[in-house]
Subunit: 387 residues, 2 copies
């Protein structure tokens, strides 16, 4: 698959150009077009990512908690593939190959459904992947795609309880809501993140500024990017003008609450916050800025508005650091670091299928192991269970 | 809770007597009445089970895969409670206490909904449990029960995506289907089992007979009990009359296919198999008996009719044993042992919430650890992610 992606880009680029033209005609914004667009360099990047997956250890067959029970039965949990994985995703066509590679490496079959916006790109990529499978002597049907735009087919996928073992939606909240509400097969929700960074009274302000700017601007369009900055009242007057200037220099639009607003006075792109802003995943260079009264109010704000993705505190107080780690209920909780680290590669998983924001099966970045289950393997010697 | 269950049985027994009287009036069968009935000894048994849970190690706070990354970030997965666990169950009132105890031990809140048949028993048990919580200085609302028989309330529970983290149904297939089809919160399916034991050509026939009789008759009403016996053609004429006699002695009714029927000739309670029988979870002293042509046909039969619960082979062939363990896709796969071992206590989990027949999150017996999730805890020192 990696070799084919490097050698046979013409069809994929042509198909992608059709998708991009349609998206432009439909008036989609630049961020959307950017996520959708494939270039030779980006396709090489997808092939490189395949190389990483190839190099990962195979999780299948691993034996967990093996032991001989007092009655002589040998019991172990053996890691096995989940089976058939459905993936429903939007816009970024590389997802088709990423999920196929990870699914296949963990011994699964994959059924893909890309967004209608990327249907030609997905179709071309899957065609290439299936040819590569056949060449390698693997059944091409281990990777399948639903390219017919009929939405009824997605509904069938989501309700195929005896044929599909899990569905992973990757996309915005609308997609995730549709999938969780429609599916009767198990779902792993991924991706949606309203992420906070709380700058505590005792924070190292220079480090806080670096962390906030990185969390917001390194890549604003990904789910672990900062959405709302919470600043403790006691040092807001000192910190906000400085961080505001640094953010303004990066063209960030700040939606400031009544207390933050005067402290950002004179900066470009500062507007009054609106109520909905606090529950908004911006995915661009906008953010909310809120002044809070210490860690209790910060924790309350995150509980009320966080989506359970990635949350950070910047502090020099050990007590507040530990409280934050203990009390914030999210997939990833940080002390003195940028939330943009929430990523399978960064966390040492090698690659990721997505970032789970639910608590069942997998939480946070999902790697190969999260695409497996286990079976209990029991070896006896004529054992019967006593009454 | 354990002390209260031993000391204050009067109200619980009175409430249970009302449920039993209603069930008798409704014409429910003996197996149902038996599962529903509480006695002082059975209540003591529930208290004993609580003692076991008290003795289990606390899974919360465990650190998994902790490491320092090359960039200096310290990353660990910390085991934390799932949050709020919904449990929807039928008839057996002890489930209310079992799930409450396991849920609470793993740091969760529990919302219970028993069957309408056991509503008085469940109500009395939960009342007692909540009093015990309050006495211990824990909020009584950590255990809640929906006792109003209005089914709309169950629907609300199953769709409370932002308040309930997982729902565990325990009961027959009808209940499980209703829950998986209605729920938008994550579900762990439990309990339903069409279980096979395949007696291979090379089996030790004396061991096979012991295993089959135990798997069927030790407790026929539980989900890991044998439903369909598969016998290899090459030794069916030798094995079936002997095992048939042993089963008949235990009052088992055998639904035999055309090949098995003449080999069971003259035994009491032998009838012709019907098509539906092969997909039936009997839960009583009936079973199906089918002759197959070797391990391939046995594997095919189990793939077609098994529910992914517990499956066994009796054999002296190492190759067939390993093939069976590899190829059967079920929560528990056995060589030369009774399927009735599928149980959290037997597998060393100490206790169980149920037996998962799905592949996500937990498979087979679910203990305390399966009632937890994890969060990624990341400690930095001003770390920002490079581009």
């Amino acid at each position: 698959m990696a070799a084919a992606l490097r050698a046979e880009q013409t069809d994929v680029l042509a198909a992608n150009a059709r998708d991009v033209a349609q998206a432009r005609a439909a008036g989609r914004d630049d961020a959307f077009i950017d996520r959708l667009t494939l270039t030779p360099a980006r396709i090489d990047g997808i092939a490189d990512a395949l190389g990483t997956v190839i190099g990962l250890p195979d999780p299948v067959g691993e034996s967990v908690d093996a032991r001989r029970l007092p009655n002589g039965l040998e019991v172990a949990r053996r890691r096995v593939p989940l089976g058939v994985i459905g993936a429903v995703f939007e816009s970024r066509p590389n997802v088709a190959i990423d999920i196929s590679a990870l699914g296949l490496k963990a011994g699964n079959a994959v059924i893909l459904r890309g967004g209608s916006e990327s249907q030609h790109s997905t179709g071309a990529l899957v065609h290439l992947a299936r040819q590569a499978l056949a060449t390698a002597g693997v059944t091409a049907d281990a990777i399948q795609a639903i390219t017919d735009p009929d939405r009824e087919l997605v509904r069938e996928l989501l309700q195929a309880r005896h044929g599909v073992d899990v569905v992973v939606p990757r996309g915005g909240q609308g997609l995730i809501d549709f999938v969780t509400e429609t599916a009767s097969v198990p779902v792993i929700e991924t991706g949606w993140g309203v992420c906070h960074t709380y700058v505590d009274a005792s924070a190292d302000l220079a480090a806080a500024e670096r962390i906030v700017v990185n969390a917001k601007t390194r890549r604003p369009s990904i789910c672990n990017a900062l959405d709302t900055l919470l600043v403790d009242r006691s040092m807001a007057a000192e910190f906000l003008p400085a961080v505001g200037q640094a953010l303004a220099d990066k063209s960030v639009e700040m939606h400031a609450d009544a207390e933050a607003l005067p402290l950002l006075d004179g900066l470009a792109r500062v507007v009054n916050i609106e109520a909905d802003d606090l529950d908004t995943e911006w995915l661009d260079l906008r953010m909310s800025v809120v002044v809070v009264d210490g860690i209790d109010e910060a924790l309350g704000h995150i509980q009320a508005h966080g989506s359970g993705h990635s949350e950070a505190i910047v502090t020099r107080s050990l007590a507040n650091a530990e409280r934050f780690l203990d009390e914030v209920d999210a997939a990833a909780v940080y002390v003195n670091a940028s939330t943009q680290f929430t990523d399978g590669g960064e966390f040492g998983l090698g690659a990721e299928v997505g970032i789970s924001t639910q608590k069942l099966h997998a939480r946070g970045p999902m790697g190969l192991r999260e695409l497996t289950t286990y079976k209990w393997v029991v070896r006896g010697d004529g054992h019967v269970r006593p009454l």
